[in-house]
């Protein structure tokens, strides 16, 4: 089959481009260490969360911020139309320390995005989204629910406040 010289060149250049793109992703994963949200958070029946029966779940706790030996853990329930904690009181976390979020939903699918950052996860009923973030500086980040969750979706927001480690007071272990 006749393939024009220019077409061959273009074909080869396209393949190089594709491999280069894949290379950037691999670099992001092994260099800066960008990890994916995956299945590590486990599953939980939505009704367990809806009933507030947190003791029945082995991978979720009463919503709140916990200071543990391995770092800070934040348990968040995203529900129509608030983050708990996050909306009525901000989530306070320390700077310079790994913070692991565990987010789930008792009702519909929501989103959890710190606006303008790559802290971004879907919140799906039945699944616990688990992701670890290290905030380098003290700052305030708005939380946006970025998945349509009902007629009041646009009111669903919250805040993460990053404080100095000396000012951080986590909950009991």
């Amino acid at each position: 089959m006749h393939v024009h010289r220019f077409e061959r060149l273009w074909f080869a250049a396209s393949l190089v481009l594709i491999v280069a793109f894949l290379g950037t992703i691999v670099y992001g994963a092994v260099g800066p260490g960008v990890a994916m949200v995956d299945d590590s958070g486990g599953t939980v029946e939505p009704s367990v969360i809806a009933n507030g029966d947190y003791e029945a779940a082995d991978n979720f706790r009463e919503p709140g911020v916990y200071d543990t030996e391995s770092g800070v853990d934040v348990y968040v329930v995203a529900r129509q139309y608030l983050f708990q904690p996050g909306t009525t009181e901000p989530i306070r976390v320390p700077a310079g320390e790994p913070v692991t979020f565990h987010v789930t939903s008792p009702d519909v699918t929501h989103g959890f995005n710190l606006a303008g950052t790559n802290v971004n996860s879907m919140v799906i009923p039945g699944q616990v989204a688990e992701f670890t973030v290290t905030f380098e500086e003290t700052d305030e980040h708005g939380i946006v629910c970025h998945e349509y969750c009902g007629s009041g979706h646009h009111t669903m927001e919250g805040k993460v406040v990053v404080v100095e480690q000396s000012q951080f007071e986590g909950g009991e272990n």
Binding site: V3, P46, D107
Partner: protein
């Protein structure tokens, strides 16, 4: 502007003429040769354009509402309008538009009329009833007295629930499209009986491979809707697994974008070179492109779920790798399209490294619209590469960047190509001359400028973290810091761009309605339907390219590799668990 171009000057000797009642003769058009197929194509395109008009109006309402330029509805109704916009444009305008275009393309290239009038009527009615049910249920959400609604957006993720009629209507639309595919395969079988050793004509090859991909991928959403959502919405099962159902949706949700796009590719490969005054560069590479789409379009759906919990990173990595290789057929297309246009311009005497660009027939909307759609698609391709990168995606997932991206792809590459080719095709399937040609000539440019304004602002808004799918992206606790420009300036561009796009849609609909109502049947058409042979024909290419069974088998195998284990994982803890009950909107 270039000098006056006539349509396909180089090929007019091939034309046939038909006698008209008054004794004069006129160019023979598709409608003379295949009146039934022309009628079916007209009905499909008519429904597509009607859906386009309503969807475009909804788009205008949204653009003005989101940016707080003008709010004529309460914000809770915004989501009804958004659902209507998504379903009417991304499902109805596309599916009917594609059916009309493919019905013409398959019939024209095979030279065989559709084989069964009953089958044609069957799929046409199934798709139409499905559309009426789905659209009716959505619009009922605007009327408080009617107890039905479907404010679930066009992705309809459970457990947000719509009225059962919405799911039934959507299922009928998809099942109807399967009947359309069967119609085209039966035409092919009839053609094959009298042409046992010939290569499949190019347009038909493209139609058939696209439909094979469509059968493979739409099975996912059909299972989601028929097995899970319809019984669940009727109360026959008490819960569904939100992760499993959204995975089935995205199994369909990425290839569906190629279902929208490939009809544009059919036009770019087979019609655009002729409109540019030349001929297609290479038939075999066009076939390779469509085969790659058949193989790679489906095992990529997890790239819409990079930020989903419950899915292992490895599955996402496989999807990403496939996605990047899916760039290859689009990059090949870029080469072929540009090379074919350049060839066309040089045939007309154009010279220079880039000077040939200005000698293309930009004054003719069928050309300018398709060419502008191609340019915008290149931009959309670049933002798509960002979407496809697993970790870069985290910055823009579910921000307004994403609709900024797909308004360049489905919203321009498909939509503007269909509008532009309609200026050329509608006369051939109606026998009527195009009316209001002056309006038609400016229409693609209005669309282009509107989309440049709206889309660039949406992309930049996404980088600032402004979410998509929200009535009021103005919060008390959240502020958005623009990387380039200001949030206020982005809002202005979105509002003006959205308004221009609506004007562009209106201009198109005026031209179409004018042609339908004012055009005289049996007119002397300005256009002809002959398509020149490619520079490199299919003869020297390997016969295996036409082996549709082989490519389908490989496509199925790739899907099993990409989806087998992940779906098994989701089913292992119970088909309906972890499960959610109905949550009405």
């Amino acid at each position: 502007m270039a000098t006056e171009h006539t349509d396909g000057t180089a090929f007019e000797s091939d034309e046939e003429y038909v006698e008209v009642d008054d004794g004069t003769r006129r160019r023979r058009a598709f409608v003379d040769q295949f009146p039934d197929a022309a009628r079916t194509a007209r009905i499909c395109l008519g429904i597509a354009f009607a859906a386009f008009g309503v969807g475009a109006l909804f788009g205008l309402i949204q653009a003005l509402h989101r940016t707080n330029a003008l709010r004529i509805i309460p914000s809770s109704d915004y989501y009804t309008i958004l659902t209507g916009h998504g379903v009417l444009l991304a499902l109805v305008f596309t599916t009917f538009g594609i059916a009309g275009l493919f019905h013409w393309a398959n019939t024209r290239s095979l030279g065989v009329a559709p084989t069964s009038r009953r089958l044609t009527q069957g799929w046409l009615w199934t798709m139409s009833i499905g559309t009426a049910l789905a659209a009716g249920t959505i619009l009922a959400g605007l009327v408080e007295e009617i107890p039905a609604s479907a404010d679930v957006l066009y992705t309809f993720y459970p457990p947000l629930a719509a009225h059962p009629l919405f799911y039934i209507g959507t299922a009928l639309l998809i099942i109807g499209s399967w009947g359309a595919g069967l119609d085209w395969f039966l035409q092919y079988r009839e053609w094959r009986q009298s042409n046992p050793d010939s290569r499949i004509p190019l347009q038909s090859f493209m139609v058939l491979t696209t439909m094979l991909m469509w059968y493979l991928c739409s099975t996912g959403v059909a299972i989601e809707v028929v097995v899970f959502l319809i019984p669940w919405s009727l109360g026959l099962i008490s819960q569904v697994d939100p992760l499993l159902t959204r995975t089935l949706f995205w199994y369909f949700g990425h290839p569906v974008v190629y279902f929208w796009l490939l009809p544009a590719y059919v036009v770019w490969y087979t019609v655009l070179p002729k409109l540019a005054g030349g001929r297609l560069f290479s038939d075999p590479l066009a076939r390779v492109t469509f085969i790659l789409f058949l193989l790679l379009s489906t095992p990529v759906g997890f790239h819409h779920q990079y930020t989903d919990p419950g899915i292992a990173s490895g599955y996402k990595l496989v999807a990403m790798t496939n996605t990047f290789f899916l760039l290859l057929p689009s990059l090949l297309t870029l080469f072929t399209v540009v090379a074919s246009m350049e060839h066309g311009a040089r045939q007309g005497g154009a010279t220079g490294r880039l000077a040939w660009l200005k000698d293309l027939p930009w004054e003719r909307p069928e050309f300018s619209g398709i060419a502008l759609a191609g340019i915008m698609f290149a931009a959309g391709g670049f933002s798509g590469m960002i979407n496809a990168g697993m970790n870069i995606n985290y910055l823009i997932h579910n921000t307004i960047w994403v609709p900024g991206h797909f308004h360049l792809t489905v919203g321009t590459a498909y939509a503007l190509t269909l509008m532009a080719v309609s200026y050329w095709l509608i006369p051939q399937i109606t026998g009527k001359r195009l009316q209001f040609r002056g309006l038609a000539a400016i229409q693609p440019f209005v669309w282009f400028v509107g989309m440049v304004l709206m889309s660039n602002a949406m992309h930049r808004g996404g980088l600032a973290g402004i979410p998509r799918r929200t009535a009021e992206p103005q919060y008390e606790q959240v502020s958005f810091d623009a990387v380039v420009g200001t949030v206020g300036e982005m809002r202005v561009q979105i509002a003006i761009g959205g308004t221009l796009l609506f004007v562009g849609a209106l201009l198109f609909l005026i031209v179409m309605a004018g042609t339908w109502l004012l055009g005289k049947p049996d007119s002397q058409l300005r256009v002809n339907g002959s398509l020149p042979e490619p520079l490199s024909g299919p003869e020297e290419s390997p016969q295996v390219l036409d082996n549709l069974k082989l490519w389908t088998a490989i496509a199925v195998a790739l899907v099993l590799l990409a989806y087998g284990v992940p779906i098994y994982d989701m089913l292992a803890d119970g088909i309906l668990a972890p499960g959610s009950p109905l949550i009405p909107v």
